[in-house]
């Protein structure tokens, strides 16, 4: 019947194939190197203007502040890579910081108890998000926007206008937030450890690769028999649990906690992740990039303070950075597509 044979006009050879692969590879690497470069320039310029910026105290502050954001960014990466989003993390941090603070106030509970309780609460929140998104197939944005407000409201309700005071938090827990190991504070150590563990899992374990597969092409993942629901659920559980850990660390670092202290952080986290090269449409990005993004955003905050720029610019800059990152990604992708198309001519 239909007897027209088919053929395509161009036959890219293996060599051009490798060339294109190399090109795309370079673009991806370029991202992490790019942030690193931006960081270095930022730090260098700021230090030139105000040498005190690079004082031991200044650097430590940046790293302490970045640690909590980086933890959240690592969790968010797991979710975003599967083409989803978790906007509830900021409210989870607040809830956990307050509830754990309330539970340990005036007691002699140790670090282990605080961490376990925080992670458990966070994981429970993540479980709810995960079940709604993966089992019921409800849009992730709407679900997590909803849980953001539910959790925030619960936090205010529990707090009832009170606050946790550092004086009542056991010393052991405060030490977790402000102590150090051989001169290196605990907080960045914990974040780096978590980042390395998750990064290794995502890169080197078959189930980790499936997170990328789902985000890259949900349809292909379904046909390949990837357990999509289980992985998406896992991503939300992990994101929730890490937010819980971050909440406990928040308590440990600041001691004094008012209701919903991390309000609006979800935006910083999403920005950190996207600036760090994790594609908002899934399938691409690493936790290392996301953590670097968190470091960059925190550093910008400190720079604004040191350079005596109106600190209110902080929020606007975060938004601007996010827009720049997604626009740059898109422009590079468009450019790449055009290059690939035009290259066809020369081989055709």
């Amino acid at each position: 019947m239909t007897a027209v044979a088919r053929q395509r006009p161009t036959r890219p050879t293996a060599k051009t194939g490798r060339g294109e692969g190399g090109l795309i590879d370079l673009v991806l690497r370029f991202r992490e190197l790019g942030i690193l470069g931006a960081l270095i320039v930022l730090v260098a310029v700021t230090t030139a203007i105000n040498p005190r910026f690079l004082s031991a105290q200044g650097v430590e502050d940046i790293f302490l502040n970045a640690s909590i954001l980086a933890l959240l960014a690592v969790g968010q990466t797991l979710v975003v890579v599967t083409r989803n989003i978790d906007l509830s993390v900021g409210s989870v941090v607040g809830l956990v910081a307050f509830v754990v603070g309330d539970a340990v106030s005036g007691t002699q509970h140790g670090v282990l108890f605080a961490v376990a309780l925080g992670v458990a609460i966070g994981a429970a929140c993540g479980l709810v998000n995960g079940l709604l998104v993966s089992l019921c197939g409800v849009p992730a944005l709407v679900v997590t926007l909803g849980t953001l407000y539910v959790i925030q409201g619960l936090n205010h309700y529990i707090a009832h206008g009170e606050q946790i005071s550092a004086a009542e938090v056991p010393d052991a827990i405060l030490k977790l937030g402000n102590g150090d190991l051989a001169g290196v504070p605990y907080l960045p150590l914990i974040s780096v450890a978590v980042m390395l563990a998750v990064g290794c899992y995502l890169r080197s374990y078959p189930s980790g690769r499936e997170f990328y597969a789902i985000g890259s092409s949900p349809e292909a993942a379904r046909l390949a028999g990837v357990p999509i629901r289980r992985r998406v659920l896992t991503a939300y559980l992990a994101s929730g649990a890490l937010a819980g850990l971050a909440g406990t660390l928040w308590l440990a670092r600041f001691g004094t906690v008012v209701a919903d202290p991390a309000r609006g952080w979800e935006l910083d986290v999403v920005a950190a992740v996207v600036v760090g090269g994790v594609a908002i449409v899934g399938g691409v990005g690493t936790v290392y990039g996301a953590a670097l993004g968190a470091l960059l955003i925190t550093t910008i905050g400190s720079v604004l303070v040191v350079l005596k720029i109106n600190p209110f610019w902080q929020e606007a800059v975060v938004g601007l950075l996010l827009l720049l990152a997604i626009s740059a990604d898109r422009l590079v992708a468009l450019r790449l597509a055009r290059v690939l198309r035009k290259r066809n001519v020369r081989h055709g």
Binding site: M1, V4, A5, R6, Q7, A14, S217, A224, G348
Partner: protein, 512 residues
Amino acid sequence: MNTSAPPTPPRLALVNVSKAFGAVQALRGVTIELYAGEVHALAGENGAGKSTVVKTFAGVHRPDSGEVRLDGEPVVFNGPADAQAAGVAVIYQEPTLFPDLSVAENIFMGRQPRTSLGRIDRKAMHAAAADLFARLGVALDPRQPARGLSIADQQVVEIAKAISRDAKVLIMDEPTAALTGQEVARLFAVTRTLQQAGCAILFISHRLEEIFELCQRVTTLRDGTWVGTEPLDGLTADDLVQRMVGRELEELYPKQEVAPGPVALKVSRLTREGVFTDVSFQVRRGEIVALAGLVGAGRSEVARAIFGVDRWDAGEVEVDGTRLPPASPTAAMAAGLAFVPEDRRQQGLVMDMSIERNIGLTQLRSLRRASGPGPLISRRVERDRARDWALRLQLKFSRLSDAVGVLSGGNQQKVVLAKWLATEPSVLIVDEPTRGIDVGTKAEVHRLLSELAARNMAVLMISSDLPEVLGMADRVLVMHEGRLVAEIPRAEATEESVMAAATGRRVGKEAA
């Protein structure tokens, strides 16, 4: 080879399977048995239910009634993972790869070689992928991402994936559609190796000669029903077509003779870099001109650029003497162009929208004017116009407010034609107008095109269906590798002359 059924139970079988999607009955009591060591062909026209059979074997669809049997035992595949675990590998018509992941990861997703610590052994994985490519005789880099691969290379990755699974059953849904002759030969060699190793293979292709070359038995489907299963040995190509179509072929192409009028569409030196180059031709009123060529030769792309869906880099397009601006479908429509796109489900129709609204979508402005003064559209005017066209095209429907998604493929295509004819165009471009629709509707579409030409419309038709091209066109333009290589008048157009030009073997009369 073994043309009679061996005594052992079939590796994988569908027994009396029925499946419906909404109001459309895709399969009715279909039985297919795949034995170890045979290559079994599945023949049938577009829309006969072949893809549904494939997806049922793959565990994507579950039968409404009837059963799937594995080695004689009934099984239920609750998803593609179950089918894969049972040793079924599927190569789909359209490759389903992960664009962001490397070629090697695409092949081994979920089954990556591991080190003793349980981590992915990338070196081993890349070596294994390179090994597969060597067996297939292709030069692909396992490390490169799947994004940017040509369709043929994507198909190669799919085949490598299936081979790497050591599948007991291999289902191939038109694997050769995008391959060159050399690549097809290589694929066949690999297929025969798998067959000798005891694999049961289901092969689907539109090229009958491939079926005769590779397969031992054939099952034919027509409109979702089972027509027969028989050895290919005693069969001729005509027999097979007869079974697929179920009627004589002649009446499929009711072409009227028309004296061509003035030039309605003039395309001059149109170029889109990397896609097509220097394409010039004219279509006169009353003419049906076919744009033929192999898939990927740039036919659809030329049509898309003319209509303004894609941007062109150089050249110009005139409709009835009006020059079109680049990349503006709205301007093209205003000048009198209509374009029935290739992909009906994504581009032709809004599947969730009602029949009447789909038909009205191209004439929102004229509907408003017909509704009286003011900016509002009257539902009655909208419905009346839709009903008018539905009746003219003999659309089968129950209510105009039903979503087009519940209609059969043929009736959906009629809605697409209706929505474009309602704009009263002077030039109609149709891209694969009869793909995936039943034979009866196909003949109706052909009659309609012929009538439209007779009523002074200029028709540009793109088709991969060579008999359709030969049966309908007054002139055949042939593209090869992005260039117009031949213009063949109806009298000289034969399967041989068109194919020769399409494959670049002989350059015919240079196109004007």
